[in-house]
């Protein structure tokens, strides 16, 4: 799949078919995640992965934002110890951004491999830590639920580009091509 097409056609998929995700496919998702940009190349992330149905069911019980029956769940975590050791107190903020970018890589990779996935922020971090046996310094930041899509997900609305972009300065709406046109 061409990159731009993948970016535009990715959806948050919340209903999954029963087909399992082969381990090599899961491996590619994680590889994609680890190639996200990282401030200072610190890579302050850890990924805790499970495809065990019982464990996924337990994770779902403390993750109100998780729907359907995902075949794979990846807890995308900040490694606080690594972040703070390498970048000091500000490291946590950078690490959170890094993990978010890694998660987006994972979501796009899932889409490119024919999977459906959804990033989840509505979960109880301490409960997820408990269920996955994470040490205190490994903090789940986003969960990704994945599986083969059960059906097509409708295209959601997006704010128009002109409403959210400014050219050269805040409030300047014309595109560079339009500047000076007709004047």
């Amino acid at each position: 799949m061409e990159l731009f097409e993948a970016i535009l056609s990715r959806r948050s998929v919340r209903r999954y078919a029963p087909d399992p995700i082969p381990p090599e496919v899961a491996g590619r998702l994680l590889e994609a995640a680890t190639w996200a940009p990282s401030g200072g190349n610190i890579q302050p992330w850890q990924f805790v992965v499970t495809s065990d149905p019982g464990q996924i069911e337990e994770l779902k019980s403390v993750s109100p934002g998780m729907f359907g029956r995902p075949r794979l769940v990846v807890a995308c975590c900040v490694d606080r110890r690594r972040a703070e050791e390498r970048s000091g107190p500000g490291g946590l903020h950078i690490a959170t951004l890094d993990v978010a970018m890694a998660t987006q890589n994972l979501l796009l990779a899932a889409h490119g491999l024919g999977l459906g996935a959804c990033a989840i922020l509505s979960f109880h971090p301490a409960a997820v830590q408990e269920l996955l046996g994470c040490p205190g310094w490994v903090v789940p930041t986003l969960l990704v639920a994945a599986g083969y899509p059960e059906a097509e997900t409708p295209r959601p609305s997006r704010r128009p580009l002109e409403e959210v972009t400014h050219h050269g300065a805040w409030g300047r709406r014309e595109t560079p091509g339009e500047r000076g046109a007709g004047s």
Partner: protein, 101 residues
């Protein structure tokens, strides 16, 4: 064994409700009603797995599933869906009472 499974299912539903309660402090206001509806469908799922369900509950779950994700796109339609759900549940209560009398 049946009892143990029932306890496990109820335990997970309690986890879901407690996690929802905590999460709602930082989430959009409309997630409150959404979580309650989701708890209903999860309760019906649990009853089904424990063979304690009723075909009527399946209808209720299907009805909720048809509108619950409108919470993200169309709040008015979401509220309409809840109104229709409550009205239907109340009608069913009355019908059941009348059938018993």
């Amino acid at each position: 064994m049946k009892h143990d499974e029932a306890v496990r299912r109820i335990h997970m539903l309690l986890c879901f409700m407690a996690s929802s309660a905590r999460g709602l402090f930082g989430e959009p206001r409309v997630y409150g009603p959404f979580r309650l509806l989701d708890a209903m469908t999860r309760l019906i799922d649990a009853l089904e797995e424990l063979d304690l369900d009723d075909p009527y509950f399946h209808e209720v779950r299907d009805q909720i599933d048809r509108f619950k994700f409108k919470v993200m796109e169309d709040e008015a339609a979401f509220i309409e869906g809840i109104d229709a759900l409550v009205k239907g549940l109340a009608s069913r209560l009355r019908e059941n009472r009348e059938a018993r009398e």
